[in-house]
Amino acid sequence: MSLQHYLVISAILFSLGIFAVLTRKNAISILMGIELILNSCNLNFVAFSRFVTPPENIDGQIIAIFGIVLAAAEAAVFLAIILAIYREFGSIRPDEVDTLKG
C-alpha cells in the first residue's frame, strides 16, 4: 500500500467524522465523530512518518501517540459535560441545548 491509500482512508475518516459531528442528533455520536477526526489525523501522522521521513525520525508516531492520549482526555471531559447537560436539560440532543443565542 502506498502513501496515497493511507491518505485517502484518513481523508474518508475525517469526512465521516465531520459528517457525524454535523448531522448526529445525539451528543455521544458527536463525540464519536470527533474521535474519528482525531484518529484520521493520527493515521496521517503515522503514515507520513512511515513514508516521508527517514526511518530513524519517528516524530510523527510520537505525535500520534500524544494525539491518542489527548483524545482520551477529551473524551473524558466531554462525557462529564454531557452528564451535566443531561442533568440540566434532561436530554443530550445538541439542538435542544440552545438557550444561549442571538
Binding site: I18, V21, L22, P94, V97, L100, K101
Partner: protein, 738 residues
Amino acid sequence: MVVSLISIILLCPLAAFAIFALLGLAKRNFPRQDYLSTAAMLVALVCSFLLLWEVVPKPEPHTVDWISLGKITFSMGFYLDSVTVIMLIVVTLVSSLVHIFSIGYMHGDPRYPRFFAYLSLFSFSMLFLVVSDNLLGIYIGWELVGLCSYLLIGFWFEKDSAANACKKAFLTTRVGDVGMFIGMMMLFARFDTLSLYGDNGIFTRITNPEYLTADASGIFWLSIAGVLIFCGAVGKSAQVPLHTWLPDAMEGPTPVSALIHAATMVAAGVYLTARMFPILTPSSSLVIAYVGGITALVAATIAIVRFDIKRVLAYSTVSQLGYMMLAIGAGSYVAGLFHLTTHAFFKALLFLGSGSVIHAFHAMHAHHDEEHANGEEHKHDDHSLVHAHGSEIPSDQDMRNMGGLRRKMPWTFGTMLVATLSISGVPFIFSGFWSKDKILGGVLGRAMEWNSVHHYVLFGMALLAAGITAFYMFRLIFMTFFGEPRNQEMHDMAHESPWVMVVPLLVLAILSFPVVNKWWFNKDNIIRPEQPHIHAPQHAQLGPDTKIDGANFGIAFFGISETEAAEEEGEKNTKKADDAYYIHKLAHNIAMVLSIVVAGVGILLSWLFYHRRRFSAESVATTFRPAYNLFWNKYYFDEFYDGVLVALTVWKSRLFAKFDLSAIDGIVNGVATITRQVFAAFIGFFDNRVVDGIVNRVAEVTWAAGGRIRRIQTGAIQTYLFVVLGGIVLIILIFRAL
C-alpha cells in the same frame, strides 16, 4: 481745529445717548434726558456754524487708517466742503428745533427720556454719515440712521401698526442697502479701496484719463456700480418702487416724521447720490433721473386723494425727494442739494405744524386709550412676517374732522401757510420757489442743450408734479384751517400749542424766506465744489453747467439777487464765451415762467375746489373714476405684489387678499410663507429625510445587519460547526482561484 470741531459735533449727541444707555443698564435714568439731548444738539449746532466760518478754502479729507491689511487699508475720516457744511447746519438746526418741539409734544409719554436718547443717537449717525469721506463710513452711518428710524418709528411698539411699520421700514431700506453694498464691492474690486478723496481715492483715480483708456469695460462697470449704489438711495429716500415704507413710517411720533422722514434721513439718499456724482455715467444718470421723475409724479398724484394729514405730507415728501433725484440725474446736482436744504426746512415745518394740529386735537393721554384700542383690534398674526398697515386713519389725523382751525391756532396756521407757499413755489420771496426753479431750469437746460427727448419728458413730469404739489398742499391748508369745523367737539377741544412747540415753528418759518439768510451768510464763504467728471465726451457741455449751478447754489439760497448773480456769471464766463451758458440762462427763464404758471393754476384750482366749493371733488372723482381709483389705491402697487404673491403661494391667496399688502410686506410675507410652507416642508424633507435620512438609513442598515448576524447565532451548536466548515470550504475555494 476742523477735526476737533467735527469731533465735538459728533460726540455731543453720542454722549447724550451713551449716558442714557449706561444708566439704563443700572435701571436708572438721567433726571432730565430731554434737556441733556437738546443741549448736546445746540452745542453741535453752534460748532457747525463755527465750522462754516472755519471752513477750509480748499476741501480736504482728514483720515486715519481704520483697518490696514498687508496691501489694503480701509481709512476712516472726514471730508469737508461747503456741501458738507450746509448739510451739517441743516441737520443740526432741524434736529435742535425738533428736540425743542418734542419737549412739548412728547410731554408725559411713559418712555419720554428714551425718545430723546434715540433722537440723539439718530443725530449722531446722521452727522457721521454726512461728514465721512469714504463709502464704508457713509455705509456705516447709513445703516445706523436706518436703525434709529427703526427704533423711532416703532417707538409706540404696543401698536401693532407701528411695530409692523418699523420692521417694514428697516427691511425695505435694507433691500436697497444690499444693492448699495454690492455696488461698493464692485468699486472695491476695481479700485482696491473705498475712500473717495485723497491721492488714490476713487474720484481721483477715475479723473485721470488713463483710467478710461486702461480698460474699455471701465465705463460699463461704473454704470452698473453707480446704479447699484443708487439702489441704496432708492431705499432710504423712498423712491419708486421702494417708496412704500415712508407713508407707513408715519406711525412714529410726528417730530420723528419731521426730523427723520422729512428733513434729514430720507434726504441722505439725495446727499449720497450727489456725493457719488463724479462716478455717475450718462446712462446711470438717466436711470436716476427717470426714477426721480416717476417718483415725483406718482407720489404727487397719490397725495391728492389722501385724507390723513400726515400721509399727505409723507407722499409730498416722497415726491419732493423724487424732484431732487431728478435734478441730480439731470446733471444739475447742486440744484438737487439746494432743494434738499430748502425742502428740509419747510417740510420739517409742515410736519411740526401738523404735529401741533394733531397735538391740539389730541391730548397726550388719549394716545394710550387709542393704542389699547387698536391693540385689541389686531393681535399678532404669526403667519405674516409683516402686517399690512391698518388702512383706517386715526381720527385725530383725518383732515375730514378738521377745518376752520385758523382762528383756533393762529401761529400754527401762519407758519404752515408760509411753508405751503414755499413748497408750492410761490415766486420770489419763498425759498422753495428758487430751488424748484433751479431744478426745472436745470432739466430744461439739459434738454435744450442736448435736445434729448428724455429730458423733455422729464421736464414735463417735473412741471406737472409742481402743479399738483401746489394743488394738494393748498387742499391741505383749506381743509384744515379754512371753512367750517366739521367735527365740533374735537374743534372745541383744539387749542394753540405751548410756546416750546410754537417757537420752533416760527424759526423754521423764518428760514423759509431766502432773504433772511443773507445776514448769517456772506457769499465769500461759498465754495463752488469742483466736480471731476468721467464723461470725457460731454465734458465740454457739462463743465459750465456745473459752474452755473455752483453759482446759483449760492445766489438763490443765500438770497443774492439775480443781478449780482448775473454779473458774477458774466465775469466768470467772459473767459470762454460758452453758449451752453446762454442756453441755460434761457432755459432758466422759461422754466421760471412755466413754474409760476403751474403753481398759480394749482393753487387756483384747489381754491375753487376746497374753499369756494365751486366744484365738488366728489363729482370730479366720480367723473374720472378710473384715475381716482388709481390714485386712491396707490397705483395698485399692493394689488400687483399681491398678485405676484398669490401666484407664489397659491394656497395662501385668501390670507393675502385679506390684507392689502404693499410691496415689501408682500415679498417678506411671501418669503415667510414660502419658508413656512414650502421651505419648512423642504427643510423637513431635506434636513430630516435627505441629510439626516441618509445618516439614519445608514444607522438602520447597520442595526438591521446586527439583527441578521444575531439571527445566524441560532444557539444550536451544529449550525456553528456548519459555519466553520462552510468558512473553511469558502476560503479554500476563493483563494484557490487566486
